[in-house]
């Protein structure tokens, strides 16, 4: 058993920046335990001599010419922002006051 705990789920949710209700944490703890038990079978065949594959069609050195091409205007870039201040994205405070 992988034994995922509610504390672990709460910690992961904090790392992933998702607030979760106590009920969600309870449900996710059960779900995650089952899923992790199931997917852990990859370890049966993943022996040391097998190289890892991160990409199905490996490409290297994908470059483009160093020339200026059209890009989004300020208005376009800000068009979907939930809040703006002039020509900038308006963001909440970065640091807590405490």
């Amino acid at each position: 058993m992988s034994a995922i705990t509610a504390e672990q789920v709460a910690h992961l949710a904090n790392l992933a920046r998702i607030d979760l209700s106590p009920e969600e944490i309870t449900n996710l703890t059960i779900d995650l335990g089952q899923i992790v038990d199931s997917v852990a079978k990859v370890q049966e065949v993943a022996t040391a001599d097998v190289p890892a594959t991160s990409h199905p069609m490996p490409l290297t050195n994908v470059f483009r010419e160093d020339v200026v091409v059209p890009s989004l205007s300020v208005e376009q870039a800000l068009s979907g922002a939930p809040a703006r201040a002039g020509d900038k994205f308006r963001v909440p405070a970065i640091l807590d006051e405490e």
């Binding site: 992933a16 997917v39 990409h55 068009s79 939930p82």
Partner: protein, 512 residues
């Protein structure tokens, strides 16, 4: 007007070129069908009726002026809501992007417009393409046109249902673990996942970047090929896009219609994708199709892919890992909604966490947390690292198989369309419904699903999956078209000839 919606894209294109039908008429006929059936089916999240008719009128005017237009000019198309569109909202089925109108078109959408296809609207999907049933859309389910109580597959249930219910002759989908092929299978339509990198991902909202691939959804193999030719090819805006010169997929499909196209073709049946866990009627139609192939001169061999057994496990580590990083972009700053926390200070961190709590559905949260776990210190090697090794083993299985055969086949999905709610409470059961389609994504090889009949026990469509080596997409179209022709000759009609009656009558079930 009803007749227009039953035409294939190729037939409609011929009439448009001959001038016997206008693009406005064709567009209006499909918009009328959307009004008639989509309140119930809910394949579309957004319908751009006015824009579609205006585009159609411009195309008609250009054609009337003698301009030479492309083969699909004036043909309507539905677009999966995972693809960004300048003039239509793009939500990827998520509340977090509700109402977002992107400032750019996905490359595939730009190519549709350049080829003068007519975007009808955006289709429903599981939130961020996470699901196999479209039940995880934040905007409600899409119903299967063959049986309203059943799922249309997922994540691209909206695109598949739209073509299967004659609301559009063509649609775009995206396939990360089967999201084009499985919906095609359960709705009796055709869907293709191209080779990884064959079609641009620029403007496709990323789920798992090493697995995602955009592809065509249609009612015939030839129509899918025509669409593939429009959207495929190198795109400098996608750094994983292949620079290959591709052959015409439409020409490849046409080649499959020649007499003897299947003679001597080496067809591999994957031992691990059959047997227990597969519905009896699915196995029966699959076996009958193999017999037809043998009679047509194909050589059927059983091949073993021993590591496919580990594909679902590897996939549900790699996908959540990549998704957890891709979805970090939903930070309540640049696009999407912003929700302030009910209590505590209004820092960026707290606002982001409150926004993601409110904006993401349960499956998205589940996979982000799972991905965060798989990537965290102390677990990385055991889970994510091991899954990447399995990926190598699965690629080796494919390589070994393709040394012996030209194409591989399997049922496209282990069952026909299941009922709403059947797998919603058991994530692993839902995940296992992708057992047939996931290996192709892990290896990057192309795959296609075509309809091969109805399962006798429930009268619902069954799909055949055909897979080819990476870059051999043309082979799918040649043999897919050949098998489609063979089956239709046996039946005396197309599979979806029966669908409209089924869509309009709730109980009638045809037998094939």
């Amino acid at each position: 007007m009803t007749e227009l919606i039953r035409l294939t894209a190729a037939e409609l294109s011929s009439r448009l070129q001959a001038g016997t039908v206008s693009a406005v008429e064709a567009t209006q006929a499909h918009l009328d069908q959307i009004v008639a059936v989509d309140t119930d089916l809910h394949a579309f999240l957004h319908v751009a009726a006015d824009a579609a008719l205006a585009t159609a009128a411009r195309i008609d005017a250009r054609r009337a002026a003698g301009e030479k237009l492309g083969p699909l000019a004036g043909v309507p198309i539905a677009i999966k809501d995972v693809l960004t569109t300048l003039d239509m909202p793009t939500t990827a089925g998520s509340k977090i992007l509700e109402g977002w109108v992107p400032p750019y078109d996905a490359t595939v959408v730009a190519r549709l417009r350049a080829a003068d296809l007519i975007p009808l609207g955006k289709t429903n999907m599981d939130e961020f393409a996470m699901g196999s049933s479209t039940e995880h859309s934040a905007y409600g389910v899409t119903r299967n046109p063959w049986d309203r109580d059943r799922i249309p597959g997922g994540s691209g249930g909206g695109s598949a249902a739209a073509v299967a219910s004659f609301q559009a002759p063509l649609a775009l989908g995206s396939d990360t673990g089967g999201s084009i092929r499985q919906p095609a299978a359960v709705t009796g339509s055709v869907g293709v996942k191209p080779t990884y990198g064959a079609v641009s991902r620029y403007g496709a909202i990323a789920l798992a970047s090493s697995l995602d691939q955009v592809g065509p959804v249609s009612r015939t193999v030839f129509d899918a090929a025509l669409l593939h030719d429009v959207i495929g090819g190198h795109d400098p805006l996608d750094s994983t896009s292949l620079t290959d010169a591709w052959p015409s997929m439409a020409a490849a499909a046409t080649a499959g219609l020649a007499d003897g196209a299947l003679k001597g073709v080496r067809v591999g049946v994957i031992k691990e994708l059959s047997g227990s866990g597969f519905q009896a009627g699915v196995t029966q139609r699959f076996t009958e199709t193999l017999a037809l192939l043998t009679a047509a001169g194909a050589e059927i061999t059983e091949v073993s892919a021993p590591n496919f057994e580990y594909a679902v496990a590897a996939y549900y580590l790699i996908l959540p890992a990549e998704a957890s990083s891709n979805l970090a972009r939903f930070d309540s700053v640049r696009f999407g909604i912003r929700v302030d926390p009910a209590e505590g200070s209004l820092t960026s961190e707290h606002v982001m966490a409150a926004t993601r709590e409110a904006g993401f559905g349960p499956e998205v949260k589940r996979r982000i947390i799972l991905g965060t776990y798989a990537l965290s210190t102390g677990y990385y090697d055991a889970y994510y690292g091991s899954a990447q090794k399995v990926r190598t083993l699965i690629q080796r299985d494919f390589a070994a198989a393709f040394e012996k055969v030209d194409i591989l086949v399997s049922p496209s999905a282990p069952t026909t369309a299941f009922k709403f709610g059947e797998k919603l409470e058991d994530p692993m059961a839902m995940y296992r419904s992708d057992i047939t389609t996931i290996p192709a994504n892990l290896a990057g090889v192309p795959g296609m699903s075509i309809p091969i009949g109805l399962a006798p026990e429930d009268g619902l469509p069954v799909g055949l999956q055909i897979m080819a080596p990476a870059r051999a997409d043309a082979r799918l179209y040649t043999y897919g078209a050949a098998i489609e022709q063979l089956l239709e000759a046996t039946w005396g009609h197309t599979m979806l000839d029966q669908a409209p009656a089924l869509a309009l009558a709730t109980t009638a079930k045809g037998a094939i």
